[in-house]
């Protein structure tokens, strides 16, 4: 605890948090923007690779997507560094917050998953999709979703968190029901066919 307070009151953390360089809270805002850009560089392409493994856009050769791994690692390091500078600004709140560890844990899982996907699909094999690769891709999508949700919820306290989680689950269930309903409609009601055949 002592250490966390020291960290939070250190010169760098105070400067990042409170400096009004360029007329506003420039350092803090700038770092947050970098963090969002890194998110897009890492998560976006990773989602595309996962989707390709799960079967979308089959006409794109999977092996060719390896070229985007450089972009993903650049995004990862950008976010690791900007996160490392942002962390001390509220060290006490973040490092005592369970949801911060949920965020870090899911990011760790996702990044380890990305390395495993790289080894499974790209190294030495020309992009053959195995069942293991599909499992990894699904796990990767789930971990990134959890990471984004947890990261956003860090800005709020208990009550709002549970309400938001509830609303998110409700929204996802609604989408699921709507998709299922749409598919059934698109397929056409099977019972009418069997009725017609039976008469």
């Amino acid at each position: 605890m002592e250490f966390l307070y020291w960290l939070q009151d250190s010169g760098l953390a105070t400067w990042v948090r409170e400096s009004d360089a360029l007329g506003s809270t420039f350092p803090y805002t700038f770092l947050l923007a970098l963090h969002a850009i890194g998110l897009a560089m890492l998560v976006g392409p990773n989602v595309a690779v996962d989707l390709r493994i799960l079967g979308y856009g089959r006409s794109v050769p999977l092996a060719s997507l390896e070229g985007f791994f450089r972009l993903m690692w650049a995004g990862f390091w950008l976010n690791a560094l900007s996160g490392l500078v942002l962390l001390p600004t509220s060290a006490v709140t973040f490092l005592t917050d369970p949801i911060f560890y949920v965020k870090l844990g899911s990011i760790t899982l996702a990044v380890v998953g990305l390395r495993l996907i790289h080894r499974e699909v790209f190294v030495g094999r020309s992009g053959i999709v195995t069942t293991r690769a599909k499992t990894l891709a699904g796990a990767s999508l789930a971990s990134w979703s959890i990471a984004i949700v947890a990261g956003r919820l860090m800005a709020y306290n208990g009550n709002v968190r549970w309400a938001t989680l509830g609303a998110l689950v409700a929204l996802l269930l609604l989408l699921l029901v709507m998709t299922a309903g749409w598919r059934m409609l698109a397929r056409g009601p099977g019972w009418s066919v069997s009725l017609r055949r039976s008469t």
Binding site: A36, M41, A48, Y56, V60, G67, L153, V160, A163
Partner: protein, 133 residues
């Protein structure tokens, strides 16, 4: 009667939605998920055109663009909720009614905030760019 009609005409009231415990934070989550999809996938496309990952064939890669469109829709819906629901966010922080009676409307953020205008302008440019493909 007047305020009631005004309220009813604006149904569904974004102030009510964004005033709930979960409205604002839920939209933030959707905004970030949309950001990753939109900027990530369009960025891959642009970088491919600029010469990164040359092994990726350009034409089939367009198959991924619908996912970027999903991201775009997520961002627009949640972003509009931020702007139209900003009154709810001001409520409690500021004396909201005082702001209104001084003639400061919540949507004046659209007129007053240069950064929001720049953001919308560049999003529009990026959108035109995407449509050109």
């Amino acid at each position: 009667m007047g305020p009631f009609v005004a309220y009813w005409l604006r149904w569904p009231s974004m102030e009510a939605l964004m005033g709930t415990d979960w409205g604002w934070s839920l939209c933030e989550i959707l905004h970030f998920a949309g950001l990753a999809l939109l900027v990530g996938i369009v960025g891959m496309f642009d970088l491919r055109l600029l010469g990164m990952a040359k092994a990726v064939p350009v034409a089939p890669f367009r198959r991924f663009l619908p996912w970027a469109v999903v991201g775009f829709v997520l961002c627009v819906v949640s972003g509009l909720s931020f702007v139209t629901g900003i009154g709810a966010n001001l409520e409690g922080v500021h004396p909201y009614s005082v702001l209104i009676s001084n003639g400061v409307h919540p949507y004046s953020v659209l007129i007053a905030n240069l950064w929001l205008q720049l953001k919308l302008l560049f999003i529009a440019l990026a959108g035109l760019n995407l449509l050109a493909f």
